[in-house]
């Protein structure tokens, strides 16, 4: 069972493997820097874990939990 970005804890790092999205939604996340191969770190979670702030390519970007669940990652220990 592969992990998604939403499964990670604050401070944890992971590498993006795939985006389970198509069309404009996929493009939108890639424009924000979430491309396969990119390293991401969880910097902050709001109450109830939504939204979640990530450090990606030198910039903090917040995603809705529902979006983060579609980004498949491999945790980096």
């Amino acid at each position: 069972m592969p992990a998604s970005l939403a499964d990670l804890d604050t401070g944890q790092k992971a590498r993006i493997l795939d985006l389970r999205l198509q069309g404009l939604e996929r493009r939108r996340l890639m424009d924000l820097g979430f491309t396969p191969g990119t390293e991401v770190e969880v910097v902050m979670k709001a109450a109830f874990g939504d939204p979640i702030a990530y450090m990606v390519r030198n910039t903090k970007i917040a995603l809705r939990k529902q979006q983060a669940e579609q980004i498949i990652v491999e945790p980096i220990s």
Binding site: L24, L32, G33
Partner: protein, 275 residues
């Protein structure tokens, strides 16, 4: 030289030669330029240095959602400059993106200055490539070169320029460094002395064929626009905002009014709108 009105701690950016900040005196300009780029790359800092106005800089909650306008004179030309909202893309999935995109697409710009963060090029070049799909009158302002140096990063501006096919000017906007060269480069582009060869991504042959089928119809419908290829690509991608703009006649020439005859059907266009 006009009195400098900025109050930044770093002092007044110095610009030599025949340069005057004109504030909001934007009537009768010769050329229209816009500052585009990701958030926090120094667009407003550059805008203030050029116009003498004092728009908010830095990370503040209000953000630039509306565009600010100002003017300056350099050599014999008067320029109107527009500070666009910061965006990571021109897909128009937010209000900011829509403002920036519509202005780049339909604003009749003489030049787009894309301000990029030299410390985060990989992220910033995504927007540069999107702007290059729309227009070839582009100058890249490679800003925050002081930060890059502090982090031990060396960016080869000449090589970057060769790869992008448009001029790249290294800058430290907060200290006014590079503004002289930026203005000279912008002048070369707007006057046509310098022609660019923007790097564009090759399309899959099948998609290219579909684009070619749409092109003549879009050219016919919107002779006043210059970015038919970009429109065709967005239609094939299923971009709702462009589909709506075509259905609602929002792309029609304001001078001549409606361009889509109500009773005329264009099968290729209809097909693209159906996808």
């Amino acid at each position: 030289m006009a009195g400098c009105q900025c109050t930044q701690a770093a002092g007044c950016p110095t610009v030599s030669g025949n340069f005057t900040r004109l504030g909001i005196n934007i009537d009768n300009y010769d050329f229209l330029i816009a500052l585009a780029g990701n958030p926090n790359t120094g667009k407003t800092t550059l805008f203030n240095a050029l116009s003498g106005l004092r728009q908010h800089t830095g990370n503040w909650p209000g953000k630039t959602v509306v565009r600010s306008e100002g003017a300056f004179r350099h050599h014999e030309y008067k320029y109107k400059v527009v500070d666009l909202p910061g965006t990571y893309s021109l897909l128009s999935t937010s209000e900011d993106e829509e403002i920036a995109r519509d202005f780049i697409l339909f604003g009749n710009l003489d030049c787009v200055v894309v301000v990029v963060d030299a410390t985060a090029l990989e992220r910033n070049l995504n927007l540069v490539l999107q702007v290059l799909e729309i227009t070839d009158r582009v100058v890249v302002a490679l800003n925050l070169m002081d930060e890059a140096e502090r982090k031990g990063l060396y960016v080869d501006a000449r090589k970057l320029s060769r790869e992008l096919g448009v001029p790249v000017v290294p800058m430290v906007a907060r200290e006014g460094k590079g503004i002289d060269q930026l203005l000279q480069t912008v002048e070369d582009v707007v006057t046509g002395r310098l022609s660019t060869r923007p790097r564009r991504i090759d399309l899959d042959p099948q998609i290219e064929e579909a684009v070619q089928q749409l092109l003549p119809h879009l050219k016919n419908l919107y002779p006043h626009l210059s970015n038919h290829r970009w429109l065709a690509m967005r239609l094939l991608e299923g971009d709702r905002s462009i589909e709506d703009a075509i259905r609602n006649d929002a792309l029609a020439d304001p001078e001549t009014g409606s361009t889509v005859p109500a009773d005329e059907e264009i099968p290729e266009l209809e097909a693209a709108l159906e996808v």
